[in-house]
């Protein structure tokens, strides 16, 4: 085929790609943190024995998991202002990413919590620990360990999902790429470059996740 690659035009815009990448990293990081908090708190409530305590969390999970992220971010960005809550694109993006990731995290972590043997929880109670302590000190860590790869996969996915935030004009890698593409018409070069950058970012994340797991889950198992 006659297509000749020319990355020059793309590399000329390296600073934009750099700032875009930082934007993506920032959104991903903040979104992940929020998602983790929502996930852990949510699962604590989700595994309650009392049905009406569980119910709102279940509803939250079902609604968020089963609707597209785009719809959620549109809702927060465009519909909330009609009710008087106006958030800027970056805040919107972080909240949307956190809520979305959090809903998945709740379910993933629940899988881990339910893999903990009843005996562990009973032992905690028998020692006189309160429910919250049993969850925090006894259940949480082994649960997270059991589903760690699923959870980190979800976080990698969340990192890639930041690209959707371009649709509410948040500044991140994909929106930078789209501008460069529309200015240079070098679609292939732009896509390949951006793909490579995403790969670097997510590999970095996976590396960090692996380090965390090595130091946090360093206990042997039988």
């Amino acid at each position: 085929m006659g297509y000749t690659f020319d990355f020059g035009a793309v590399f000329d815009r390296a600073p934009e790609l750099f700032w875009g990448s930082l934007g993506t990293l920032g959104l991903a990081f903040a979104g992940m943190l929020l998602a983790l908090v929502i996930g852990i708190l949510g699962v604590a409530v989700r595994t309650s024995k009392i049905a009406w305590v569980r119910a709102p969390v279940i509803a939250f999970v079902e609604v968020v998991r089963n609707t597209p992220f785009l719809v959620q971010i549109f809702f927060i960005y465009f519909a909330l202002p009609l009710m008087g809550i106006r958030l800027n694109p970056t805040t919107t993006a972080v909240i949307a990413l956190g809520i979305n990731g959090g809903a998945y995290a709740i379910e993933i972590i629940r899988g881990g919590v339910e893999s903990i043997s009843k005996g562990q929880i009973e032992a905690g109670f028998a020692l006189g620990l309160h429910k919250a302590d049993v969850f925090r000190l006894i259940v949480l860590k082994p649960s997270l360990r059991a589903i760690y790869p699923s959870l980190t996969s979800q976080f990698v996915m969340l990192t890639l999902t930041t690209s959707v935030c371009t649709s509410i004009a948040a500044y991140e890698l994909t929106s930078a790429a789209q501008r460069i593409e529309s200015d240079t018409f070098r679609s292939f070069e732009v896509y390949f470059t951006v793909t490579a950058i995403y790969l670097v970012i997510s590999s970095l994340m996976m590396g960090i996740f692996a380090l965390i797991s090595r130091s946090y889950f360093n206990y042997p198992t039988r």
Binding site: N66, V71, I147, Q154, F188, Y198, I201, T221
Partner: protein
Amino acid sequence: MGPIGENELFFLLQGLKWTVLLAIIGFIGGGVFGILIALVRTSKHQFARLASSGYIALFQGTPLLMQLFVVYYGVALLGIDVNAWVAVAIAFTLHASAFLGEIWRGSIEAVPKGQTEAANALGLHYVSRMRDVVLPQALKISMPATIGFLVQLIKGTSLAAIVGFIELTRAGQIISNQTYRPLLVFGIVGIIYFMICWPLSHVGSGLEKRMAKAAR
């Protein structure tokens, strides 16, 4: 500004048809290869483990959109004409198998070692050890994560628009641009997604309950 009438709804439903078909392709391709990836990733062979973790890093780490783009247009650059269905099947399989592979690897590793040891001591060979002992227990741990991913895959099929499928989201976009009612249109699209994803969550929790019967 146009109203949203029967025509528009019908158009969305036609998009839904593609969404469902694409999701089925992803489920099957991702499920079959995902199991393989998970098994290779937990095998004893250093090289196989390394290769599969590279595979996971590559296909988890790049956006599905880019994978579709590369498979469809990139390969076309090399002079090979790729049918859109083939492109979608390949890209979704790569993407889904990387994620499901990683999810299932984790749950395989979460099954207590004593279980594998007991299976070993009974002389069970690899296939039986996995199929009869490890995977059923792993599946239980991974159920919520698996269902979560499959639901995301259904929604991820919207990216197939880039190779020309007018699936649900794309159909919604087209209608939104005709009617200038993005909130309403995407609200409807959201509800339709909900209606196809929710049964899946339901099936998931049903399966979980069945497996919980044999709980500890």
